[in-house]
Symmetry: C2
Subunit: 581 residues, 2 copies
């Protein structure tokens, strides 16, 4: 037997409940009275059935009439496998929409970020393709009820924001530019609209809230309950009146966090920075390689390193590709670079710390002077800063509209600022704040000292990007090459953005005898695990003088945009308390 | 007082030791006898001093004469801070050396890979810049002893191979092309040669041995003692007579392993493959993102996952960026890709396994058909294969000279081979080896079945690259979307090279209700850690239909070149027994 469709109308009663056949049965023939009675009953029941059938038919007719009233019923609803748009509808891309599309029938797949009714016959929607590329859509009921009916208008106007929809529409020029959308010169007159994937009625965080600056970055905060109305009102006095959420709420609602225009702009800037780094180094003769994450010894001191069981042994997560890029040089390469994750097991819960971030590393042969490396590091960063300003002008402006910041000042070509560490300290002593009057040339700088020096340099040289060279010997690891003319300092440097270090580098010792002596001087046993293998690299065969540097991509992005936290620059920020999602 | 230079000759005695002045002292005036005695003594001492001075002068003269004999003494030796080449020597790059350099004075910094004497007045060296870019250098004693002396020739001819040297030379055309070097049309007539960094007298593995095919890949082998003579003679019958070393010996001598031309060629091919992947996807509207390595739940089943203590909790190393690229799509991106490390804690010690490798991943919105994803995956791989053949023709030829392999066959444009899994099984049943006559359409293939099918497809379609689509439901994870017209199979596929899988992908379920139901069907608790957070992603807001794939870069390189082990394709292969260097 075929299954009966669940919602179909009851079938009309085919036959009246018939009287039992007058066959001989128990007790012989039936009396006339009884027969009459039965006939009356049958008639009655037949009449009842007839009326029920009539009623059902009427109901069915009425339902069909009601349906018939919505002449647009095939033009909207939940998308199914049978949903079809017109074959002649042309796919569009909001970034390339132009006058040639006006009047054309088009198709768009997009997130509906907003819908509102304008009376009962018209609704406006905002359709977003990616980033902040949105266009206004208009659904207006046609007098004849097709292609758009009043029911359709009502239905579209009630779609949950952040649902993904498929629309068919005609491109039109609006009477006035649409202020609410990035695409302001065109609008879509919608003739079909299907929900491809519905958003919930109440979002964990609205798009408007996601686009507000993050209110606080504490990892300690107790997560708030879901629902916009419960978000902390850190900037209640703000003119928008839209509550700002904490970083924890953003991460608990990562889908909405990532959909915000500001996060998409930051992501775009980050990706372009990375690409600019790679393309510059490739065009300067650098070869890409891949250092390992899993390593056999906590070679760089052992502090803040993640350890894990590795079959019968123990493994560590690399804190930097330092040794591995040197192995590439020892292994016959003249210039190498890498882009990849590095790890720090530091239990610091601040907006400046993460446990996993992205390192942009490079290493190269030094021909005559260790400053050749500095030329490349300075060159690649200036290349990134100058080009990002052009390639991502819109994205930078968008980020600034949420997180205001001053223009990142760059030196004029040929006017790059390189001070020695001692010159920096002198500047700090002579022109810096009172508390830094006694800073020493032999000790590393503190973060407040670095920031104060950054402010002095900005004022004096009009740049937010500069180099401090010749760091004191005591402030550098054992592999840093000493200045042969002054052994109190090294051929090592840091590069700064807005008074914060973003790159550390220098010349490395390439002679195993000198290296081993320095390791001893630093109080390290040259036979200890990881160290021994490192020194042995330079014993295997002759290794040319070389140097390099490591740039923190997360820091570059965060400091360039002057973001309040490095966590905003990361795709999936990892902190001691946060590994999800 | 000024410090006396350590090695200076003793100063000539200026004055004879003078007699004490005849001043009045103890005991009154001095007797005449005593005065004469004193005078005689003084004369004697003066004479002694004179003779000493004469001897010293003679010795100094003799030493200087001996030095003068080597008129080239400043043109060779260990490089020091004082070493200077001529200011007019021009830096060259072997790749761009041309006729315009002939007769010019040039400078080259390179690895000396070979040196041999030709009689007592001439030595030949091979100078390598990078990869296999080497040039022949000639050091011939000049009749006048300068700029090149016999001592210099002898010294240069005895430099340890794989030392790094700095030479000054004149570019000349050799009488006959130099067969031993890649640069065969020019040679360097060396006038200065300094050792910048010396190699040891005996290398752990010679360059010639490093350039031979690796003899065996067992991780179990006891490492051999250092020294070429002790290397295993796995291919003793080889015409070169040069012993081949095991993979363990190569890794123990990683500097020499990496200096081999074959490893540098493989590294070049790998880097270009990666760049081709990125540039193709970027030009097709894909945005790069960075998935995390540290994750909070072993979300993809939990088998073969590395665990580590993470402050008060536990963390895991990501086995793939699968969930994270889907979060990017849910987070408002239409097309994303990533390149980065992935980890497998599989205790398999074979040439096909590693614990860390590089994933090339992508994910994209599906507009109308899940095969849109397949178009991109097929497109990017064909782009990589077609371009690598041109960009790295020399490198591929070099690798083939060490590891012979048949040309990697590609389909003609428009003739790409896509079979369904069922069609592949049918081919195997009908035309494959006897043992595969009963293979089923509902079970995943074994490695031998895949290889046999690869051979059949090569014969039938003349390609080593193809797709198997519509994998059975039972062979795919819970997130794979079923074919709505046939629920026994999925909209998921594998891509193959030479009968081996290099990419797995498919459409994902984007509806949380459907996803949760499938998770239950697969016997997984939808509330379990990692799974719950994954399903919740699709509940946060509407997510469009999407799909993607993950390509194993190590496999692509190894299979393209038909290398005997995937370990040869990696920069620092990680295996259960090997984490160093």
């Amino acid at each position: 037997m075929a299954e009966q469709p669940a919602n179909s109308a009851p079938p009309p009663a085919e036959t009246p409940a018939a009287a039992p056949p007058a066959t001989g049965g128990e007790g012989g023939t039936i009396s006339k009275k009884a027969a009459k009675k039965a006939e009356a009953k049958a008639k009655k029941e037949a009449e009842k059935a007839r009326r029920a059938a009539e009623q059902a038919a009427a109901a069915a007719a009425s339902a069909s009439a009601a349906q018939a009233e919505d002449l647009a019923k095939d033009n909207y609803g939940q998308e199914t496998h049978e949903t079809k748009l017109s074959a002649d509808a042309m796919e569009i891309n909001l970034k390339t929409l132009g006058d040639e599309h006006v009047g054309k029938k088009v198709e768009l797949r997009a997130w509906l970020q907003n819908a509102r009714m304008q009376g009962s016959k018209m609704a406006f929607v905002e359709l977003r393709e990616e980033g902040n590329w949105a266009i206004q859509g208009v659904v207006a009921a046609s007098p004849e009820g097709t292609p758009v009916s009043r029911q359709m208008v009502k239905w579209v106007g009630a779609i949950n924001p952040e649902s993904f929809v498929v629309v068919e529409a005609t491109v039109q020029k609006p009477l006035e530019p649409v202020k609410a959308c990035r695409v302001s010169n065109y609008e879509l007159h919608i003739t079909k609209c299907f929900v491809h994937a519905a958003a919930p009625t109440v979002l964990g965080m609205t798009l408007a809230a996601a686009n507000r600056p993050v209110a606080n970055f504490s990892d300690e905060e107790v997560p708030v309950e879901q629902g916009v109305e419960k978000l902390s009102l850190a900037s209640a006095g703000d003119a928008t009146g839209i509550p700002a959420a904490s970083m924890l709420t953003h991460l608990d609602n990562i889908v909405m966090h990532k959909r915000s225009a500001v996060q998409q702009a930051i992501a775009d800037i980050r990706s372009e920075m990375k690409e600019l780094y790679r393309s510059y180094l490739r065009s300067h003769g650098f070869k890409e390689f891949e250092p390992p994450c899993l390593i056999g010894a906590a070679s760089e001191g052992g502090a803040n390193v993640f350890r894990l069981p590795y079959f019968e042994k123990e493994a560590y997560l690399a804190q930097s590709p330092q040794f591995y890029k040197q192995i590439e040089i020892a292994g016959g390469r003249k210039r190498v670079f890498s882009v990849g994750p590095v790890f720090r097991a530091e239990n610091s819960n601040t907006p400046r710390h993460m446990t996993e971030f992205t390192g942009l590393d490079m290493e190269m042969e030094i021909k005559k002077d260790y400053r050749e490396v500095l030329d490349v590091l300075e060159g690649v960063l200036l290349h990134m800063f100058r080009n990002i300003k052009e390639r991502c002008a819109d994205e930078i402006a968008l980020v600034r509209s949420v997180y205001p910041s001053e223009e990142f000042l760059l030196p004029e070509p040929g006017q790059e600022v390189r001070l020695t560490f001692a010159e920096g300290q002198k500047l700090l002593r002579e022109e810096g704040p009172e508390e830094f009057r006694n800073v020493s040339d032999d000790e590393d700088m503190s973060t407040p000292q670095e920031k104060a020096l950054g402010a002095l340099i900005r004022k004096k040289y009009n740049t937010d990007f500069y180099v401090l060279d010749k760091f004191p010997e005591s402030a550098r690891p054992f592999y840093a090459k000493e200045d042969p003319t002054n052994r109190k300092v090294t051929n090592a440097y840091d590069l700064f953005m807005r008074g914060q270090e973003i790159c550390s580098g220098g010349q490395r010792i390439n002679d195993p005898v000198e290296l081993e002596a320095r390791i001893r001087t630093k109080g390290i046993d040259p036979a200890s695990p990881g160290i021994k293998e490192y020194v042995d690299i330079f014993r295997q065969a002759g290794v040319p003088a070389h140097g390099g540097g490591g740039i923190g991509l997360d820091r570059v992005v965060a400091f360039y945009l002057n973001l309040p936290s490095i966590h905003l620059a990361a795709f999936f920020p990892r902190t001691p308390k946060r590994l999800l999602p």
